[in-house]
């Protein structure tokens, strides 16, 4: 049998998710939003900081979700875009004295460009090959950041210290709370924009490519353009999250952006449910709190707990938090009747 006759029956990377299953209902959204607004007022500064990180990782997971759940490509290299965003913010703030809020759109744009360009070669790869190429990107990133050539800007191995912004207009709230609400506003903005993006013409093009690339191209979708666009948008949002992360943690260093981060984000997406945008926050909570709790029980245990929980998710609830949400909804419906 010659090679040409061979047929590749590749299973799609991601199962199809209908469009309206991507968001929460109106009422539930308002409840979640209300909780996110009120909760920090009663928490200590450290927990407020953790909630800020929760939102930041949720943004990064959301970005990956747009790429994977939307266009069906997947990436193990999001930490690289996160790092570029973080460094952009840090360098602009510390070396050029740019206001922290202004560094975020710049980080987003730079990462968009970076992601768009990386999407070009990635176009020819699919499934497992794409995972490998992005994996390579994530592994290479910390090494690149350590290069002597950029050291003047990046601080090399030492990294850069970032000043934490004060609340503006003399508002009487702590820096941590201010940063939390600042992050919350950006996160909500990006969330709404993402929902609209996926509902737009471009979003439909992404999904057409995800479900059947060949059919999509036959229908006149510019596959190359939309695939790289998905990469760009995803990288851009991750870059904004990275910039926010740098401001919140007040420090950037190459070893903060290793493959572990990329893998965490990937797992966050799987746990939250691929293609279900609100799942991003569930996934983010998973990747922030599970290792913490496990480390409390025994040092070095976090990896094992993480892995076992992940297998449980894969086997019992393969659609992640989305599946749990749907079951919960059905049970509520039964109670009402």
């Amino acid at each position: 049998m010659s090679a040409v006759e061979e047929v590749a029956n590749e299973a799609p990377a991601v199962e199809a998710v209908p469009k309206r299953a991507m968001t929460l209902g109106y009422g539930t959204s308002l409840v979640v939003l209300g909780l996110l607004i009120i909760a920090p007022m009663f928490l200590k500064n450290f927990f407020v900081f953790q909630m800020t990180m929760l939102l930041i990782y949720a943004l990064a997971v959301l970005a990956l979700n747009i790429l994977t759940g939307g266009s069906g490509q997947f990436s193990l290299g999001q930490s690289a875009f996160y790092a570029v965003g973080a460094y952009t913010s840090a360098i602009l703030m510390e070396h050029m004295g740019v206001n922290y809020a202004l560094t975020l759109p710049i980080a987003g744009i730079i990462c968009f460009g970076f992601g768009f360009l990386f999407g070009q070669p990635a176009l020819r790869l699919s499934g497992i090959y794409l995972a490998l190429a992005t994996f390579a990107l994530a592994v290479a990133m910390p090494q690149l950041l350590k290069l002597g050539f950029f050291e003047h800007w990046t601080g090399g191995v030492q990294g850069l210290v970032v000043t934490k912004p004060d609340a503006p207009f003399g508002l009487p709230i702590s820096q941590d709370r201010w940063l939390y609400y600042f992050t919350l506003v950006i996160a909500i903005g990006i969330y709404i924009a993402s929902v609209n993006l996926l509902r737009s013409r471009s979003g439909r093009a992404f999904m057409a490519i995800r479900d059947n690339e060949i059919a999509a191209s036959a229908m006149g979708v510019d596959v190359a353009l939309y695939k790289t666009l998905a990469f760009g948008v995803s990288a851009g949002i991750t870059g904004v999250a990275g910039g926010l992360g740098a401001i919140a943690v007040q420090f950037v260093a190459p070893d903060g952006y290793t493959i572990t981060l990329a893998i965490s984000l990937f797992l966050g997406m799987v746990v939250g449910g691929v293609g279900w945008l609100p799942g991003s926050i569930v996934g983010s909570a998973f990747i922030i709190f599970v290792p913490n709790i496990a480390e409390h029980i025994s040092k070095g245990l976090s990896g094992a707990v993480f892995g076992v929980l992940l297998f449980i998710v894969i086997f019992l609830v393969p659609h992640g938090a989305r599946q749990v949400a749907i079951v919960a909804q059905q049970m509520l419906g039964k109670l009402k009747n």
């Binding site: 047929v7 990377a13 497992i128 090494q143 691929v274």
Partner: protein, 292 residues
């Protein structure tokens, strides 16, 4: 010139390890069409077992054989318990499964044997090989074992019924099933062999990189680079790719200014991406054609 030959030989020696890793990766890729991201950790775990056996006083070669047997069984158990149920799941779920396995094995090894660096013995000694200054006996041993392994695998796949059945199950599972081959067990067998081959790679490289739970991180990535370079569908390609990556890595580290040790890894990765873009099937792989 001496420096050049020295670097090429050292590259071939480490390349032998990459070749073993690549071979293990290809074995599983052939069987289930997925890359095993946990391959390196599985190899690391096997190496720890060999180390533990030797601590208990088992002689080197007995420990080596026992470890191979254990890894073989372990690979089959992992396939039966964790990945057989995932066979029909999307790629994404499988990648998540491999990453979960990675985290579990790494963490369990750390908890059992802690994260301190341990010495690992070599059976070949570390004196210069045949009196030449170019290569040590351990490096020569690494090359020798890899070549031997390759010959054995070749004989196995070409001349035994089981080898033939495994090849059939990998290339055309449907037809293989029709002629009475138990494809499901062939996949398990592939996992077992991959796990054992990984164990050999781990035991051979441990004297060089020292034994600790994160020892295989870099090696696995070079193994991936090698497998991709040679073509994920070709075991021979994986081995050739392994040697090429080893030599390329050493030469780049020596001769390209500013690369040094720091940038060796990114170079290997740049190599992966370049190969994937220019020739996605690799040097020896079969191109896959999609039917519309």
């Amino acid at each position: 010139m001496e420096l050049f030959i020295n670097q090429v030989l050292a590259g071939i020696a480490t390349g032998a390890i990459y070749a073993c890793m690549a071979l293990a990766v290809v074995m599983i890729y052939q069987a289930i069409d997925h890359l095993n991201f946990a391959q390196g950790e599985m190899a690391m775990f096997s190496t720890f077992i060999a180390w533990q056996l030797m601590q208990w006083g088992v002689p080197y070669w007995w420990a080596f054989l026992l470890t191979l047997a254990f890894s073989f069984a372990g690979g089959i158990v992992i396939e039966r318990m964790l990945f057989k149920p995932l066979a029909k799941a999307p790629v994404l779920t499988n990648v998540a499964g491999f990453i979960a396995l990675f985290a579990i094995v790494n963490s369990v090894a750390g908890l059992t044997w802690d994260f301190t660096i341990k010495q690992f013995p070599t059976p070949f000694g570390s004196s210069p090989f045949l009196g030449s200054q170019l290569i040590s006996t351990h490096q020569a041993g690494m090359i020798g074992v890899t070549v031997g392994l390759l010959v054995l695998l070749y004989l196995f796949f070409q001349f035994t019924r089981i080898g033939l059945a495994m090849r059939a199950a990998a290339s055309l599972p449907e037809s293989a099933r029709l002629v009475g081959i138990n494809t499901s067990w062939m996949i398990a067998l592939g996992w077992g062999m991959a796990s054992a081959i990984g164990a050999i790679a781990g035991i051979l490289i441990a004297p060089v990189v020292f034994l600790e739970p994160n020892m295989m991180g870099g090696v696995l990535i070079y193994g991936f680079a090698a497998a991709v370079l040679g073509g994920l569908t070709s075991p021979l390609g994986a081995v050739v790719g392994g040697f090429l990556v080893g030599v390329f890595e050493n030469l780049a580290g020596t001769y390209i200014p500013g690369v040094g040790n720091e940038l060796k890894l990114p170079i290997a990765l740049a190599l992966i991406i370049t190969v994937l873009v220019l020739k996605p099937a690799g040097l020896f792989g079969r191109p896959i054609v999609k039917r519309v």
